[in-house]
């Protein structure tokens, strides 16, 4: 009978009602808000000839912007991996007064609007600022240079590392470390041979998230960057500039390149999380 026929593989039967209507609404809303507008970008890009597209995305100024965006995001993610690991370590392993406060503060870069972070960092690192005034005599300029971009990317990326590594350190089985100790390993050896391998997937996930966030970041960077073409111009700013010149095709082309980079990173992050999740199952 047609009415009793079910596709056995599409959905497992359940007595709970509401599947059809909630899924339909989810798909409708998702299509309306995310899928259709995002595919509009690629449709728009496909209306540009390949030669023109290629010329836009490989022009001198844009190439410099890639170098700055990708290079500095990479360095920021690297530096954050080091300090983020230390912060995750002290939060997971040590007891100290004010720990709850420090723990909450880790999320501040998530919660603080990027424009606020941008002007605050600029004020700090400007030549007369709290930090800038001590760096200026040393000949170190931070605000309005690539170094300033790096500081902003460090700020926005830090929570990703701490929040992915901390739970792993907390859940780690201390017995393994005790065993290493009793077998004569020094604490340093224990860290590198026992602990570090178990946090590598989480650290890489955090690194990739921090890197991805850095690539797309706009608000916190543009105030401190100085935005000098070919020197301190990030890719998102290039898109905004093209848009302000009504060069929609150019903005779209550059956006497509960045979007593809983001999707590749998203894919890598998903894969890393899958890998990390598997690791956990193996241990437990």
């Amino acid at each position: 009978m047609a009415s009793t026929f079910r596709f056995p593989t599409l959905k497992t039967p359940s007595v709970i009602p509401g599947f059809g209507v909630t899924l339909a609404f989810t798909l409708f809303y998702l299509a309306l808000v995310v899928i259709i507008p995002l595919s509009g970008l690629f449709v728009k890009a496909s209306s540009v000839s390949f030669g023109e597209f290629w010329q836009t995305v490989t022009s001198d100024r844009v190439m410099h912007a890639y170098k700055i965006s990708f290079g500095l995001s990479f360095i920021a993610a690297l530096v954050n991996s080091f300090f983020g690991l230390i912060i995750a370590w002290i939060l997971a392993r040590y007891r100290f007064p004010g720990k709850k406060l420090v723990d909450a503060m880790v999320d501040l870069p998530f919660a603080l609007p990027t424009a606020v972070a941008g002007i605050a960092l600029t004020a700090l690192y400007a030549p007369q600022g709290w930090i800038g005034q001590y760096l200026a005599p040393l000949g170190i300029k931070v605000a309005f240079t690539p170094l300033g971009i790096l500081i902003a990317l460090l700020f926005v990326g830090l929570p990703f590392i701490v929040r992915t590594v901390e739970p792993i350190l907390q859940d780690a089985e201390r017995e393994l470390e005790e065993a290493a100790l009793s077998l004569g390993a020094t604490r340093w050896q224990t860290f590198w041979i026992v602990i570090f391998p178990s946090i590598v997937p989480a650290l890489l996930t955090g690194f990739a998230m921090s890197f991805a966030r850095g690539l797309g970041e706009y608000g916190s960077v543009i105030f401190i960057a100085g935005n000098i073409p070919k020197l301190s111009e990030i890719v998102p700013l290039i898109i905004v500039i093209k848009l302000e010149q009504y060069d929609y095709a150019g903005a779209t082309a550059v956006a497509c390149v960045m979007l593809v980079a983001s999707f590749v990173l998203l894919f890598i992050i998903n894969w890393l999380q899958h890998w990390a999740g598997k690791d956990e199952v193996d241990l437990g």
């Binding site: 599947f19 909630t22 507008p37 728009k44 709850k100 999320d107 606020v116 201390r174």
Partner: protein, 281 residues
């Protein structure tokens, strides 16, 4: 934690790690936050109050509240529907659907704004039709709302999906067996189980909705007093070298971020068991 665990670092290493970690946090995170308030009050309380009571500041605050008031509830409804469909049922393509829901988080805010300018802007088909009918979306309030919906899209759903998956379906199945309808089951069984997780998601969604800059900046067209949200107002004041004004307005957003963090920590602390899995049996 054991007080004197044999498997810990020598004291000097602990000290070094603490100093490095906390020092980095202090310089990178704490100082910028503190500087917002210091800069805001640089010229005293009166200048601060004055910057917050201009008509532009009022209209920016009003617009930010309006945008959040539309975007957040819509994403809550979506988050509830999506997590119900995804967490309570098994179907093909579930993981793909979750990936799509997370997508807005990996799109640059600038691109999030750009896609709506392309879709609704005057040189698209839809934009042409809209302008023929005198409907303004881009460079007007509806554009701000839509861009904000996009950037805050995943918050509630991604908080609720893992939570509802952990909670399983037994309680809902029991309710249905006892004769409750879908809506009744949701209100009296599911909702009490997820209320803290939901609040947590709403909190994060709201903070982002009120603080979003990049996407909103692209679709706003920077029309003063008409399409300025608080973050955009901060930018305008800053670019006019009105630093006290910019930081004064920024201090509202910083206060919002702090309140969000406090409430978030409070929920995490008090209702940890209801946010994460009830201890895996």
């Amino acid at each position: 934690m054991r007080a004197r665990s044999p498997i810990t670092e020598p004291l000097w290493v602990q000290g070094l790690l603490m100093a490095t970690g906390l020092g980095f946090m202090a310089v990178l995170v704490l100082l910028p936050m503190a500087s917002v308030f210091v800069e805001a009050f640089r010229k005293g309380w009166d200048a601060y109050a004055e910057a917050l009571t201009t008509p532009q500041a009022y209209s920016a605050i009003r617009l930010t509240l309006l945008v959040a008031l539309i975007a957040v509830p819509l994403n809550v409804v979506f988050g509830l529907a999506a997590s119900w469909a995804i967490a309570k049922f098994d179907f093909v393509g579930k993981h793909l659907l979750i990936t799509f829901i997370d997508l807005p988080f990996s799109v640059s805010p600038v691109i999030s704004g750009l896609i709506y300018v392309l879709l609704f802007g005057s040189n698209s088909l839809l934009g042409q039709w809209l302008s023929d009918h005198n409907i303004e979306i881009v460079f007007a309030v509806p554009g701000l709302v839509i861009a904000t919906i996009f950037v805050t899209f995943p918050f509630v759903a991604r908080e609720l999906i893992p939570l509802m998956e952990e909670q399983g379906t037994e309680e809902e199945e029991a309710a249905v067996m006892l004769g409750a309808g879908g809506w009744r089951t949701f209100c009296s069984v599911t909702l009490p189980n997820i209320k803290w997780g939901l609040l947590y998601g709403v909190l994060l969604c709201n903070a982002r909705a009120m603080g979003e800059f990049g996407a909103v900046s692209v679709v706003s067209g920077h029309i003063r007093g008409k399409t300025n949200t608080i973050p955009l107002h901060v930018e305008i004041l800053y670019n006019e070298y009105n630093f006290v004004g910019a930081f004064a307005v920024a201090s509202i957003l910083t206060a919002l971020a702090l309140v969000t963090l406090i409430l978030k920590s409070l929920i995490e602390y008090k209702f940890a068991s209801e946010l994460r899995a009830k201890n895996k049996e």
